[in-house]
């Protein structure tokens, strides 16, 4: 029994080396795990073989699949050995091929079959550049995930986060699993509050490079940076409207922090949205764009409020603690993630916005902050501090599956999950 337990612990905390500097640890499994065999993809001699590996690790890390490597090669055109797959416990089997096209790009083809009913479930193909082979693997994993769970996968999405090494601050973009890190911005001054535009082409953030907080919109493809909010006082907390045309920001041009709407290109004058004698900050649009959640201390302690954008009185949303801040609404509009202080510990929680209002605490250490939803609303990523170092954690909204992303290069924090790729 003891040996079985040990084996289970080892299986649940697979350290998966991700790049030289990043490390991803996964623990826990979903409420149900779908057993799937993923065969090696057939390749010609010139084609890299990593695509099937990416699909395997994506599906395993999701916690929703038990991935079986049958140790055989299976192309999308060959018939699976169903008896053999069933004997390994697989309910489904994925095979495919990767071949190099004359123009240097790669053709990825794949087919999924139901091993129980011994019937094909469908297949597709996609063409990617050599540089995007991992991305291709993520796309295959997304397709399999959706085919079997009925929900969209997030394996081809990207995350952004801030790293601090000594006195160097970097804004980083990476695959959801911490691979392929690129740094669109490096600065000697702090960077906080990155936020993806809904189309994934731009990131808004707060930079202190001019020795005060200024909101920039940064176009990733060109590196172009526009200071969209640089008014007297502090400018911070950018949040994109769902249509990508407007940003809600916190400005102090009229005294204490209040919430304003500005255009995403910085043109025109800000429109003041809140009027309180205290602090209003951390705006977050509801997915329908019709209301705004924000943090306010108007009632004496910082709490989350919701206000309709067409006017109307803000209504308090959170209770039960004297510190509930950093609201984030899930893209499906059903959940609210936030930071709550309980007995001196700072915890990330999610709450059902409709129905029961049930709360789930996702934190472990009590030194968490900055929650951000995955675009499929199934995961929340946040920053955590342990042993004096900042790392990132992603947890499924039911709290069952947990990933920790650490960097040997220093502290990583301020995560924000990007949208589905177009």
């Amino acid at each position: 029994m003891r040996q079985v337990l040990l084996a289970a612990v080892v299986a649940l905390s697979l350290p998966i080396a991700a790049q030289a500097q990043m490390r991803l640890d996964v623990s826990g499994v979903g409420a149900t795990q779908y057993p799937i065999a993923i065969a090696n993809f057939a390749t010609d001699a010139r084609a890299p073989e990593q695509v099937a590996d990416v699909v395997r690790s994506d599906l395993a890390r999701s916690g929703s699949f038990r991935v079986i490597d049958p140790g055989v090669t299976l192309s999308e055109s060959a018939a699976p050995d169903y008896a053999s797959m069933r004997s390994r416990g697989a309910d489904a089997v994925l095979g495919g091929s990767v071949s190099r096209l004359p123009d240097g790009r790669y053709d990825i083809r794949y087919r999924l079959a139901d091993a129980v009913r011994q019937a094909p479930l469908g297949g597709e193909s996609l063409v990617v550049s050599e540089h995007d082979l991992r991305f291709g693997g993520h796309r295959v994993a997304d397709w399999v995930f959706e085919k079997i769970t009925g929900e969209k996968g997030i394996f081809s999405t990207r995350i952004a986060f801030v790293s601090k090494q000594g006195t160097r601050f970097k804004l980083n973009v990476a695959d959801w699993d911490g691979e392929n890190v690129v740094s669109p911005l490096t600065s000697p001054e702090p960077i906080i509050s990155p936020s993806w535009s809904p189309d994934g082409t731009r990131i808004a953030y707060v930079s202190f490079e001019s020795r005060k907080p200024v909101v920039y919109v940064h176009t990733l493809a060109t590196g172009q940076r526009v200071p969209v909010a640089n008014f007297k006082g502090s400018n911070s907390a950018p949040a994109w409207s769902p249509d990508g045309r407007t940003l809600a920001v916190a400005l102090t041009r009229d005294g204490l922090s209040q919430i304003y709407l500005i255009t995403a290109d910085g043109s025109g004058a800000p429109r003041r949205l809140t009027t309180s004698p205290g602090i209003d900050t951390e705006p977050a649009f509801a997915p329908d764009g019709k209301s705004l959640y924000f943090t306010s201390d108007r009632g004496g302690s910082p709490q989350i409020y919701r206000m309709p954008l067409d006017g109307g009185t803000p209504a308090r949303v959170t209770f039960g603690s004297s510190y509930n801040v950093s609201p984030r609404v899930s893209p499906d509009g059903r959940l609210l993630a936030y930071l709550t202080r309980r007995d001196g510990r700072f915890l990330v929680a999610v709450r059902d916005l409709a129905g029961t209002g049930q709360e789930t605490i996702l934190s472990e250490t009590g030194r968490e902050e900055s929650p951000s939803f995955a675009p499929n609303s199934r995961w929340v990523m946040f920053a955590t501090q342990a042993n004096g170092h900042d790392s990132l954690v992603a947890v499924t909204v039911d709290g069952r599956v947990r990933q920790r992303l650490t960097s040997s290069a220093g502290d990583i924090r301020e995560p924000t999950w990007g949208p589905f790729p177009k």
Binding site: I192, K212, S236, A237, T281, V325, G388
Partner: protein, 183 residues
């Protein structure tokens, strides 16, 4: 002769200032202008220079310092500390605020940035707003003393630029602070 002495004094004063503030270059014109005087004096009176015969008097004038750079001035204090969860300027910091208000009123071309800070606990953005509240408390105190808005800007660094990096109460207290930074 009188104008030549003046020139020498200016040269000396320039040299004195240059010695005080590194990175400032000597003015070429005054250096050249003073050179003949010194070489002639040196030739006539020996290496000891003017006043070596006991009767000559070298006149030296100390330029008035900017009180901002005087370590003995109350203006040398640039930090105002706050109690936990408080945004009230404590009585012990009134003299500091008043000294800076007087200085700004006397020097209308000077501009100060009031930088609010917080400890690291909790949300970064909410801490930015709390730091602003501290900076704003100092700004309002200065406004009450007559300092025009055009000479002040209240901004916040929140928890992003801690002076103390520990996670104990002493470090937290050190970071609950507004700083006065002159431009």
């Amino acid at each position: 002769m009188k104008s030549r002495i003046r020139l020498a004094v200016v040269a000396l004063a320039t040299a004195f200032l240059a010695a005080c503030s590194s990175g400032v270059k000597l003015d070429d014109a005054s250096t050249q202008g003073s050179a003949p005087i010194e070489s002639r004096d040196a030739a006539a009176q020996g290496a000891a220079g003017a006043g070596a015969d006991g009767r000559g008097i070298q006149q030296v004038q100390v330029e008035q310092r900017d009180p901002l750079n005087d370590p003995a001035s109350p203006l040398a204090k640039r930090s105002i500390y706050f109690d936990f969860d408080s945004f009230v300027v404590r009585d012990e910091f009134r003299p500091t605020v008043e000294a800076h208000a007087r200085y700004l009123l006397a020097n209308p071309t000077r501009h100060v940035v009031i930088q609010g800070n917080t400890d690291e606990r909790g949300s970064r953005e909410y801490n930015l707003a709390l730091g602003q509240k501290r900076a704003e408390a100092v700004r309002r105190a200065m406004t009450a003393l007559g300092v025009p808005d055009s000479q002040m800007e209240a901004v916040s660094f929140g928890e992003e630029r801690p002076r103390a990096t520990g996670t104990d109460e002493a470090s937290f207290a050190e970071n609950r602070r507004a700083d006065l930074a002159y431009q």
